[in-house]
Symmetry: C2
Subunit: 125 residues, 2 copies
């Protein structure tokens, strides 16, 4: 699997996202991490392995205490990928905004536009 697919795949699970949210507050042991999830340790370990493989977390080497730490910069490629689409949804919201303003203006004046002069449909060009 390519790296970006592995990242998206690792994020496609609410427990794994909750683990990342917890680790964003600071590194912690697996035992501590498992507590709020009411999950078995093997189940938590399985999730951690997916996150580790995707480079989203790293685990300490200490034998007694293997703290988990988030590697937030592994999310940067997701942000960069999103960048190409940000423009599209912003355009869409700009058009929605314009349409709502037009509706409000019509309400104010109490006039309705002729059917031939309807607002531009809200869809991608």
């Amino acid at each position: 699997m390519d790296r970006l697919s592995a990242t998206f795949s690792a994020l496609a699970d609410p427990t794994r996202r909750a683990i990342l949210a917890r680790l964003a507050l600071g590194e912690t042991s697996v035992t501590e991490l498992a507590e709020p999830f009411e999950m078995s340790m093997p189940a938590v370990s399985k999730h951690l392995k997916v996150l580790e493989k995707a480079g989203l977390i790293v685990r300490g080497r200490e034998a007694q205490w293997r703290p988990c730490r988030i590697e937030a910069q592994a999310l940067k490629p997701v942000d960069e990928w999103l960048e190409n689409y940000r423009r599209l949804w912003e355009q869409r919201f700009d058009r929605l905004d314009a349409y709502l303003q037009e509706l409000q203006a019509q309400e104010k004046t109490g006039r309705k536009k002729a059917p031939g002069k309807k607002a531009r449909p809200i869809r991608k060009k």
Copy 2:
């Protein structure tokens, strides 16, 4: 599956991301969409169904020509989710920056710091 997981799951495939990239340029028919991928129509249809289920594309209702259109605003929740982590990777890059500047400064002066005065290790607080 929750909505955000469905979105991440749909994005965890290079072909589906390539389809979205194509649709970002404008709506198109499934036939046209399938061409550059050298895939069978059923294979493309399967990918489209995953994208449609995640709300990332919509398909026209015309019987003859069912154009596919990207719904970029379905990516907004991904962007909002990322927001909580952006701070973390920026912090990390800020620290890397500070460390590199320190190294360059050391090179300039030709001095080396005493072992007790090493640069702060690059890791999360």
